[in-house]
Symmetry: C2
Subunit: 436 residues, 2 copies
């Protein structure tokens, strides 16, 4: 039997504790599958005295993750602290430079410093694995990096944030307001006390930036992701979408266009009959479109202690099965120094269908004015629904579904309509994502 | 740059030709991702003179795949001949014994000889990869073997045969008969001239046997798969299922029970709202239920030249990235010599809900008799639909949905009903698969 793979874990929250517990509970089976045992021999966390329900008596404690990262005793540094603080970056960098493999669940760190860390890892010939950083327990990274090597990917889109999908699912099924759903999600632990990072789409953007790099062989470029959250989605939007055959999902989408790569995160209309529309609650899903496969869809748990731990241990097992120095493993699919620069396609050039909601004064000529501005900006309409959505008011709601047009046309038409003084509230528009 | 990975391909049908074409078209990108090039240097097929639209001028031709398998010039033997003929088995065995890696798309070979070939591969320390053997381009094998190492799998179920799903989808959407759909599928090339292997469930059974071994760490046991095909599914079944909130799919299901492992392939009622019910046409899908992940679902193209080639090249890329002799890679997840014996759970012990259709004489007392035999066998009913499904005949159809019961109870009740002489045709029953 080969020597154990010796692991140091930094960060002992839900995921870290789960990894330790599972590695112990399933030690025999894992040893059998990996050809050697995987042993946690060191840990580092903020508070040594906290009771985590796991036995740490036989592991070495480090107060500093950076110190553990450079320890001779470990083979793999597992980073489960999270965030892109200096100490986290320093620890991962140090581990790689010391020649240790790294497994991390840290999307923020990689979206910010992914390339430079990948260069370090590749220079040293060690693994930098991050399956747990995107969509928890769904093996998306492995599928894209290893299984789809021969595919030319044209588009990816997915539900990458469980909190948002939970809220949108309940808004649809129970008719609740965004605010009520969010409060419930917080009560149930599906949303943070400060939910901004999730509901404003930033979490999705971080994950999307990593997937975009893997999909297109380009540099990770978080700053080029266009981001809109779900906080201004109303029951009127959800009900109107349903009537017109759509569901509203917060999608992360990346695709190649003639002008560059579109990376966008926003509430999206998807056809009710599409598979992505059937992804309910906290589940995540990713669809990958490519030349050889058409469409591949993976769906499963996007978060949670055990699901994320499952991904971390999958990465550890790959390292245990390989023998150090004898595996070619470019972190982002292609060697980091060979990633193409990210060329951003501006959102104003985005081309697609749009759902537009206008709350207007209920008076003569309003609809004619709306129609004129649409036509004047070359926007042709697929569906029109006009009705009083709120009883007894002198206000009506116009819902439009456009044929394919460009974002700049929509923006221009809406600006003109606003100037006419017909609107009683800010207009709403939601992009429609076509499905195969 | 490392030396090329030298590949010999046996079998130049659609898949083999696609592999050669794609490896050539995408050579630069693959070299970049794998750290060395993947070169086809030898081929073997039946007819050297046939025009396959690919340039074979720079590769060595072997009339015998067995001879190519033992050639010193190749690193990997790719078996795309198919079937479990002696020559195919001999070639794969010879390749492994010579110390070559093997990549195969051959489910029949592996369902029959998987273990003994795995033992050979593991003894020599070479890869025996078979992603393309199950569900074409969907990376199911890699997910189960590598990503889910720490999961205890309790059940898998999936749509593993595109022909059957195509037929059932069209029967549902267009109201066509099984026979008409089959003829159309044959015309369109989705079904073989002799479609028995597909429509009677044998193709699914082969794939299921491999997945069962991976899921539960047990010996491959094709003979223990209970198999029923779709040829006796009628429009009445499909319409009644729809009314009751179900779709009919041909599923392969494997699960652990108290008495052993159930492996079964049969038409199955799945809830209309389930994800598996949304898998249409020739698409495949697999759901994996496990302790850490809950449910993971993968869906995509199950067959076709380029999708299968994508899986073959994914396997080749893994071999190119690894360095010979330095990767621990048990073929079926666990070392073949350590696989547990397969303990079969008999189908008569199967426990679940049932859809039962009885065509009976339209006369007094029939329903009372049916109800009596159900009750007498401890079967309680969830739904009952009774109506004349064929106009103007003295025959009526009774549709029953049972609560959870056992197969032996259902069989006994149906035998008793038959004995009463009320049936005008053979009764139909279809198992219901619960979904999470």
């Amino acid at each position: 039997m080969e020597e154990s793979l010796k692991v140091g874990i930094a960060g002992l929250g839900t995921v870290g504790s789960s990894v330790i517990r599972i590695l112990k509970d399933k030690a025999n089976s894992l040893t059998c599958q990996c050809g050697r045992s995987i042993k946690v021999i060191a840990v580092s966390a903020r508070d040594k005295s906290r009771n985590r329900g796991i036995d740490l008596s036989d592991v070495k404690w480090f107060d500093s993750p950076v110190e553990m990262a450079s320890s001779d005793e470990i083979d793999v540094f597992v980073e489960l602290i999270g965030g892109k603080s200096d100490v986290v970056y320093a620890a991962v960098k140090k581990a790689l430079e010391t020649g240790h493999h790294v497994v991390t669940a840290n999307k923020a760190l990689l979206a910010q410093h992914g390339e430079i860390l990948a260069v370090s890892a590749e220079k040293k010939g060690v693994f930098l694995h991050f399956e747990a950083a995107v969509a928890g327990g769904i093996p998306i990274i492995k599928a894209m990096r290893e299984s789809l090597v021969s595919n030319r990917i044209s588009r990816i889109y997915g539900i990458l944030n469980g909190t948002c999908n939970y809220i949108l699912t309940r808004m649809f099924t129970e008719g609740l307001s965004f605010k009520d759903c969010l409060e419930d999600a917080q009560r149930l632990g599906y949303a943070e006390v400060d939910p901004t990072f999730d509901i404003e789409g930033n979490d999705t953007a971080h994950k999307l930036a990593l997937l975009t790099s893997l999909a297109f062989g380009t540099a990770v470029s978080l700053d080029d992701v266009y981001v809109e959250g779900i906080s201004n989605i109303s029951q009127i939007d959800i009900r109107a979408a349903d009537e017109l055959g759509y569901r509203i999902k917060l999608l992360g989408v990346a695709l190649k266009t003639d002008t560059g790569i579109e990376q966008r995160v926003h509430p999206t209309m998807v056809p009710t009959s599409s598979m992505i529309a059937q992804i309910h609650g906290v589940r995540n899903a990713l669809s990958i479109q490519s030349d050889l496969l058409g469409e591949l869809l993976l769906s499963g748990p996007g978060a949670g202690g055990t699901a994320t731990a499952s991904a971390v241990i999958g990465d550890l097992a790959d390292i245990a099965k390989a023998r150090p120095g004898f595996q070619y493993a470019p972190v982002l699919g292609k060697p980091a120094l060979g990633l193409a620069p990210h060329k951003k396609a501006r959102i104003s050039y985005h081309s697609g269908g749009y759902f537009i909601r206008l709350n207007v004064h209920d008076r003569a000529g309003v609809f004619a004015a709306v129609a004129k501005h649409m036509a004047g900006n070359n926007i042709s309409l697929e569906s029109i629904v006009q009705r009083p959505f709120m009883e007894g008011q002198s206000v009506k709601t116009i819902i439009l579904i456009t044929h394919e047009t460009t974002e700049v046309n929509v923006q221009q038409a809406l600006a003109e309509i606003e100037k006419d003084g017909h609107l009683v509230a800010k207009s709403q528009f939601i992009r429609i994502e076509p499905m195969v």
